[in-house]
Amino acid sequence: MAMGPLLIGLYVFILAMFVGFEVITKVPPTLHTPLMSGANAISGITIVGALAVAITPEASVSNLLGAAAIAFATINVVGGFLVTGRMLAMFGSKKK
């Protein structure tokens, strides 16, 4: 059975959506903001795409766009995980 990359991508997409729905069913209200913020950081995964387009040796428009995309995505990733960590640390300190 031959499958193009697009079709494989669709399989992955649909299965991952189901996993996403299954993983997040019940969430206590306390965790809404941290979860949103953590998921937000994960959406910075687009940095992987950005890396792939920013590599050609000569400076070019696509390189510049790629570098800007890397910067944007890194803000999302670094900022997102750190902010989530800060919020969750507060729940941790209080338990002791």
């Binding site: 969430v27 809404h32 998921a39 950081a41 687009t46 790629g66 910067a71 900022g79 800060r86 969750l88």
Partner: protein, 478 residues
Amino acid sequence: MTSDLVHFVYLLSAVLFIFGLKKLTKVKTAATGNKIAALAMFLAIVGTLLELHLPDSAGSIPSIDYRWIIGGIVVGGVIGGIGAVRVAMTSMPEMVALFNGFGGGASALVAAAVVWDTLVEKSGSIDPINAVIICLSVLIGALTTTGSIVAFLKLQGKLKKGAPILLPGRHVINLALVVGVVGVTAWFAFSANTPETFTQSILALTAISLVLGWLLVIPIGGADMPVVVSLLNSYSGIAACAAGFVIGNNVLIIAGSMVGAAGLILTQIMCVAMNRSLVNVLVGGFGATDSAGSSEDARNYESVTSCGPEEAAMVLDTAESVIVVPGYGLAVAQAQHAVRELATALESRGTKVTYAIHPVAGRMPGHMNVLLAEADVPYEQLVEMDNINPEFKTTDAVIVIGANDVVNPAASTDKDSPIYGMPILQAHEARTVFVIKRSLSPGYAGIKNGLFELNNTMMVFGDAKQIVQGLVSELAEL
């Protein structure tokens, strides 16, 4: 370097993303979950950097210039890091919104860069299906960016203090823009066949999407902003997913679609908490009809009773049970530590103190829990709305601090009220209600609060922190 190893790293990363997200949904494991997700992100980046070293179809290993990569990571890392470390806990929701906008923007830029690289620099071609996916990536990414910026400004109160902005004929304008998006996408996919026309169509699409994102969020009031931020978060996941299709990388598709699903679920949960339908939120204009009359309403309060901290302290001194209803005003005044002191003072007199937490208290669901946790308020004393509502009837005193819409009885009594149907904290049922507030000005929904006029309600005007500190010292003197 074999491609099998690279794919194994990607697979490991995808699995860790799922574990991380799963652990983020439980209080005990959430901090670990966040670290696992961060590790997954790190692995995905390592995998990509390895993949870049794989020989291409011709068998030659591409030469890589890391300047752009390192430059981008350093700039983004410094900005994101400083932003995350310096932001106050009270401003967390708008920070999340802003970060989200950057994520969306990155996805749009990736798609644009691929277009430029393929069509202009390599004079290649893009088939119609990929072209449509690229257009989707640009559309969702760009729309998320401006939408998130508007959400950020609204949460900061910089855009008309968060009130809805209704343009005349906005539905027609939006419809025209959507038609424009479809038209440009079709042009890009099927007819634009020179690098110039390709570029023009992508630029046009970007411009339309940016405007569309802006227009979609401005009519939505500040009270609904958490729902919008959550939805935009979902969009940014879908945008990353589309970018994954563009460059053919499964990790992007998996992580992106999970964020998309998570965002949708959270959005739905929040809508239920506010008794609003998603369509209702998105059409917007919530509170807009009243915003014109709200300032007038605010002056129209009759029979409001106010008192100072001394009188309030006397009532609290004899109370056997006290419920604190914290709102965003508490956070703004940084009064959480003073509240904690007050609670300790009351508890030392044998008074039972609990906190009533509305699901959307603060600027975002769960925001208030984070703020009170910062002040070391014991977790067990925070009681969720459904559990505490029956308690109000038998409670001697309620202290409402900087909360407004979440205790507005109009939500359950006034069918014409824009917040009718929203579940509220039944604070008005308590024997005595103290409302600590700067003035009679309306809250986020922009409407009058009947609670302030009730016979059992005493307004204590002033800065939340000063008033609560005043209460603590008055109590000490009694």
